[in-house]
């Protein structure tokens, strides 16, 4: 005891270090989940951050709009051309609509449920994000109040974002696909028979392999989730950036650039 009193500073620092190491271990064992106290603190912070983030997003969008005026103008022209093209396609699709109705009737008769009951999505806005480190974890303004549960799927207009790792009363903490080691099963949109598995690599991209080494997967191919695992079928993952053959593993290894731009995420949808 005397020794501890004589070395008070050392004792205090060691105590704090040990306590924090214990907190990290517990947090790791509970897969990043917080205690009751942590959830309460997060709910309180969320009440302050929500209006602040609304203002910030507004300012950010206005500034970005002013800076990229020419780009927006160019994009507008492109979109006009695309609308014309889509209108033509739309008339073709209306013919197929009748066919779809018939198929839906058929699926009901088989009790088929698309996305295993996850067909309804909840829209959410990012309210808290720490940009002082490169690990993409953020909080959104939808929680148990909107029926969100852990491991629900998070997407945005461009594709797969990640999954819900913790849920509060009116907030959820989301971890991106780039910050976790989970395998994501995929298939190629161009040729549905080409399947494989991808996961985050050390460069902030996705890397994986194709099941059939003879499958003709090429640079630029779009990958979507195959429905195996926690992610439902048909969500866009990314585009193939590089295809290589690993002689040691005897597998066709691919590098994928995610379609989601994690730098500019503001709104997401969470699948129930």
């Amino acid at each position: 005891m005397n020794w501890l009193r004589e070395h008070r500073l050392f004792t205090v620092i060691s105590g704090i270090v040990l306590f924090l190491c214990l907190v990290i271990i517990i947090s790791f064992l509970t897969a990043g989940g917080s205690s009751f106290l942590g959830r309460g603190a997060h709910s309180l912070v969320h009440k302050f951050e929500k209006p602040l983030m609304t203002v910030t997003s507004g300012v950010r969008n206005t500034v970005a709009g002013v800076i990229s005026y020419n780009d927006i103008k160019k994009e507008n022209e492109e979109l006009k051309a695309k609308v014309e093209q889509l209108e033509t396609e739309n008339s073709d699709l209306s013919i197929k609509r009748e066919e779809l109705k018939q198929l839906k009737k058929l699926s009901n008769s088989f009790n088929f449920e698309p996305y295993q009951g996850r067909s309804k999505a909840v829209a959410a806005r990012i309210t808290e994000l720490d940009s002082s480190n490169p690990y993409v974890v953020f909080t959104v303004d939808a929680g148990t109040d909107k029926g969100i549960k852990e491991d629900y799927i998070v997407v945005d207009g461009n594709g797969l974002v990640g999954r819900v790792m913790e849920v509060g009363s009116d907030w959820s903490k989301v971890v991106s696909i780039l910050s976790q080691n989970n395998n994501i099963s995929f298939r190629v949109t161009r040729k549905q028979s080409i399947t494989g598995v991808v996961q985050a690599n050390s460069k902030g991209e996705l890397e994986g392999f194709v099941m059939n080494e003879k499958a003709k997967i090429v640079k630029g191919d779009t990958l979507v989730t195959s429905g195996v695992g926690i992610y439902p079928e048909g969500i866009k993952i990314g585009k193939v950036r590089e295809v290589d053959y690993d002689e040691n593993k005897q597998l066709k290894v691919i590098t994928i650039r995610p379609t989601v731009s994690f730098d500019s995420l503001q709104k997401v949808a969470i699948f129930k």
């Binding site: 270090v17 924090l20 720490d130 940009s131 480190n133 690990y135 974890v137 050390s202």
Partner: protein, 166 residues
């Protein structure tokens, strides 16, 4: 600097960190206001090391709100705080350049330590990926530290007899 003033400054930094800072980020990278505030107070005030517990508390809150695992940020803040306190003893704390260099080294310590702990816990990111982003974080933190130095240096001189009254 009084207890209340330090608490208020850290609370403001914490709130701004999760929201306002995102308006000035470059490719989702921005400054670490809490760490910068801790270094600035440690440097400019005689008993500035007493700001470290505040940084630990708000670092813990930061982890609870937006980080994958809780406890990593305050643990590294502690090491950075000790480093800043030691640097203040050996270097000239009155000069902006010394504080800027301390801030740059502190950023490297923070990012590297965070990477090591996250790697142990199973993060897929590689060291090269982290180091590639390091210059942006350093630039941001040095800019923020310079602004804080500019504002607080005058205040520190004005209230040079001010001490904590906890």
């Amino acid at each position: 600097m009084s207890f209340k003033r330090v608490l208020l400054l850290f609370a403001l930094c914490f709130l701004a960190q999760l929201s306002v800072v995102n308006a000035i980020t470059f490719r989702n990278m921005g400054p670490d206001l809490i760490m910068c505030m801790m270094i600035a107070i440690t440097y400019l005030y005689d008993d500035g090391y007493r700001s470290i517990p505040f940084a630990l508390f708000f670092g813990l809150l930061l982890d609870v709100c937006v980080n994958q695992y809780v406890g990593i940020t305050p643990l590294i803040y502690l090491f950075v705080g000790i480093f800043a306190t030691a640097a203040r003893i050996w270097l000239n704390a009155e000069k902006l350049i010394t504080m800027a260099v301390t801030g740059a080294i502190a950023t490297v310590i923070f990012q590297t330590a965070y990477f090591i702990i996250m790697k142990i816990l199973g993060s897929p990111f590689g060291l090269i990926y982290i180091l590639e982003r390091e210059p942006v974080f350093i630039i941001y933190n040095v800019i923020v530290l310079s602004i804080m130095f500019g504002i607080m240096h005058t205040k520190a001189e004005e209230y040079h007899n001010d001490r904590y009254t906890i």
